[in-house]
């Protein structure tokens, strides 16, 4: 039976309604995907070696880029903040300014963006290629849940590695700031680290920790979802990879703002 065509005046409303339903459906699928992955983390069999492999894939292999970006971010911060503080005669506060910027904000966000660029894109491409070459179907017809094998270990590894990557980024960044502030611009070592101890407290560290933890879930969730629901062929994988990196990056910044408004 064919549907009766809608009156012309109602067609825009129909299009808006269909669009809204499609968005809600997509969000529902996205949410159910995470729920299924978390469900498999809570029920045996646990894929311990797949989890270790993902730690290596997401964490260890991102170490070099984290060290480089962390170090140079701290150095740039040291340089710029020093010349700003000098105008007010407050250069003694360089240590806390660098540390607070890194620990509360830049460390979690930049580390997450870097890991997204390096590991998130690779994760999407890897799962996407497995999808188009029917490797995921092969798992399914072996009565093995591909989410348990491919998605859950990645999300768990994201939870573990993102805070660690952030901690390394922060530490290297603080030493980058030290190199510029103390070794290059002549601030005393005691002032740099002493003022840091005075102004940085546990709340600041916990804020960075919660942010990095949530970014760990967010990035691996988005990247595995995009890989799992890839289109056709090489073009589909390329599009999914781009979408995963763009969506993850945008969500990191949006979620960072919300976390910043909620956390003390």
């Amino acid at each position: 039976m064919t549907e009766r065509p809608l009156p012309l005046v109602l067609r825009p409303l129909d299009a808006i309604g269909r669009g809204a339903i499609a968005v809600v459906e997509a969000l529902g699928r996205f949410g159910m995907f995470l729920a299924e992955a978390l469900g498999t983390l809570l029920t045996p069999p646990f894929k311990f070696w797949a989890f270790i492999d993902r730690i290596n894939y997401i964490g260890y292999r991102s170490l070099l880029i984290i060290l480089l970006t962390g170090g140079f971010t701290g150095m740039v911060l040291g340089l710029q903040v020093y010349f700003t503080l000098v105008r007010f005669g407050s250069e003694a506060y360089l240590g806390p300014a660098v540390a607070l910027s890194l620990i509360r904000e830049l460390g979690p966000v930049l580390a997450a963006l870097m890991v997204t660029g390096r590991a998130g894109s690779a994760l999407t491409a890897e799962i996407g290629i497995m999808r188009i070459t029917e490797q995921i179907d092969a798992l399914t017809v072996m009565a093995l849940n591909p989410v348990r094998y491919l998605v859950a270990p990645s999300i768990l590894a994201g939870l573990v590695t993102f805070p660690l990557m952030t901690a390394i980024f922060d530490t290297v960044g603080i030493f980058g700031g030290y190199l510029v502030g103390v070794e290059l611009l002549g601030l005393s070592q005691g002032t740099y680290f002493g003022e840091m101890q005075t102004f940085v407290d546990l709340n600041d560290i916990m804020m960075g920790f919660w942010k990095s933890l949530s970014f760990g879930v967010l990035v691996t969730w988005v990247c595995t979802y995009k890989g799992f629901h890839v289109g056709h062929g090489a073009e589909g994988v390329a599009k999914a990879t781009t979408d995963a990196v763009v969506l993850s990056s945008v969500l990191i910044l949006v979620w960072d703002y919300f976390m910043g408004t909620v956390l003390p």
Partner: protein, 247 residues
């Protein structure tokens, strides 16, 4: 026995299966033939539970796999072996690890037994000593044989072959077909094969079903299909250039 009843499937406005009926006898090799893009692989994906139909049902030993989900569907799938068109081997694993995978993950056999069965399985498909190679390091024909070894290592009751000889030269096509035939004689599984390798499949099939326009237009033993008066079947098996459109 596999019984397909009035199977209907559309993708958007394109109706691929239009009330398809087919019966596959236990222990037989049934080959589904038909033009490329005609819905053979779509039909196969319904049989293995990767697609849900818009209508109709697929009964496997009495259980409707189109209605099953979760553990019940997994129970049915554990009796399946599937050889995908491209092999679908896990490229991060060696050929031996690929064959061992269903044994390790599904049957939870001890490592020593897994190793013995993997070796025997690779030997069965003529790949002794090749287990340590990765899928990317072996030829297309070898990859297909590894895929067959992986599908058969758990000794399934039903094995599905999705165009297992696509992209292979005529000698390899015959090698794979005879490998399937020999393994079938030895292991007595029910085989459903999607193929358009004419006339080679007539040598191995117990039954051939011609899929055209979303329906099975003729089914029977190879001799009956080869002598079929049906114009669509005749055109297809003779490979006449005007094809099936004129039917």
């Amino acid at each position: 026995m596999i019984k397909i009843e009035r199977l209907v499937k559309s993708f958007g406005s394109q109706q691929v299966l239009r009330g398809l009926d087919l019966e596959v006898a236990t222990g037989s090799i049934t080959v589904i033939i038909g033009r490329s893009g005609g819905g053979k692989s779509v039909l196969l994906r319904h049989l293995i539970g990767l697609l849900r139909p818009d209508g109709g049902r697929v009964l496997v030993n009495g259980a409707d796999v189109t209605r099953l989900g979760g553990r019940a569907l997994d129970e049915v799938r554990r009796r399946y072996g599937v050889v995908f068109q491209g092999g679908a081997l896990f490229d991060s694993m060696t050929c031996a690890a690929n064959v061992a995978f269903p044994l390790r993950e599904n049957l939870r056999l001890p490592a020593a037994e897994v190793a013995t069965r993997v070796e025997a399985s690779l030997a069965q498909v003529g790949l002794e000593g090749m287990g340590s190679k990765y899928p990317a390091e072996v030829s297309g024909g070898m990859r297909k044989r590894v895929a067959i070894a992986r599908a058969l290592v758990t000794e399934p009751e039903i094995v599905f072959f999705d165009e297992p000889t696509t992209g292979l030269d005529p000698i390899l096509v015959n090698t794979i077909h005879h490998l399937v035939l020999n393994l079938h004689r030895k292991l007595r599984f029910t085989a459903v094969m999607v193929s358009h390798e004419i006339p080679e499949i007539f040598e191995i099939a117990d039954a051939v079903a011609m899929l055209h326009d979303g329906r099975i237009v003729e089914v029977g033993p190879p001799g009956v299909i080869q002598a079929s008066p049906n114009r669509v079947v005749r055109q297809f098996i003779r490979g006449e250039p005007e094809g099936a459109e004129g039917a």
